[in-house]
């Protein structure tokens, strides 16, 4: 069963230099919310930003990770 800290580590490893906070919404290890701040999001649309985060987990989304709610931003705060 995935944990919040495992998700956080994996996002940070995939997006070096990012600041990540992950919350287990239900405590059940399957519904998570991730807030990700990364300068790699600069110039990307929201769709592209969220896809970068989803891509870390591939087919696990919809499988062991039932739901991953995402909020992305860049360090400057611009989208």
């Amino acid at each position: 069963m995935p944990t919040s800290s495992e998700l956080k580590e994996r996002i940070e490893a995939a997006l070096p230099g990012s600041a990540v906070a992950v919350e287990d919404l239900t405590g059940g290890g399957d519904h998570f919310r991730a807030e990700v701040v990364s300068d790699q999001f600069a110039g990307l649309s929201r769709i592209q930003q969220h896809k970068l985060v989803y891509d870390v987990f591939g087919a696990e989304i919809g499988g062991p990770i039932h739901a991953l709610s995402i909020k992305t931003s860049t360090p400057g705060g611009a989208q």
Binding site: R46, I47, H50, K51, Y54, I61, G62, A67, L68, S69, I70, K71
Partner: protein, 131 residues
């Protein structure tokens, strides 16, 4: 129905409907909180949209995600382009960007906005008992 036929049906639905929502359940009876919120945002803006319930066959979701590259449900398409899932749609609803994209006025008090009848994707099995 083959997987190719399902994919073709989904592709058509995206191209033919200006505003196309793939969700769990229906706008009247959403089967998931994320889908409910996304349909609710469209209802609050008073736009006409088509909705398709992905639950009746697991292949609908597989083919949709294969086509869009987006892993979760709901998925909102406007003018043939993926706008996003519930997080993005709600962010854009709250900021007024969604109203702008759809060419409607942002309601001042979304909670009291009229709830229009959403357009539904007809699959030929509906009855009219509720009327």
């Amino acid at each position: 129905m083959t997987n190719d036929e399902i994919r073709g049906f989904i592709d058509n639905a995206i191209q033919e409907n200006q505003v196309m929502l793939f969700m769990k359940g229906t706008p009247h009876e959403p089967a998931c909180g994320f889908s409910a919120r996304t349909a609710g945002a469209l209802n609050a803006l008073g736009v006409q949209y088509a909705a398709l319930d992905i639950l009746p066959d697991p292949r609908i979701r597989e083919e949709l995600s294969g086509l869009s590259g987006w892993p979760t449900i709901p998925q909102l398409f406007v003018k043939g382009e993926l706008v996003g899932g519930s997080d993005i749609v709600m962010e854009m609803f709250e900021s007024g960007e969604l109203a702008e994209l759809l060419g409607v006025e942002q309601p001042e008090e979304p909670a009291e906005a009229p709830q229009p009848e959403p357009a539904r994707q007809r699959i030929g099995l509906e009855n009219n008992l509720a009327d």
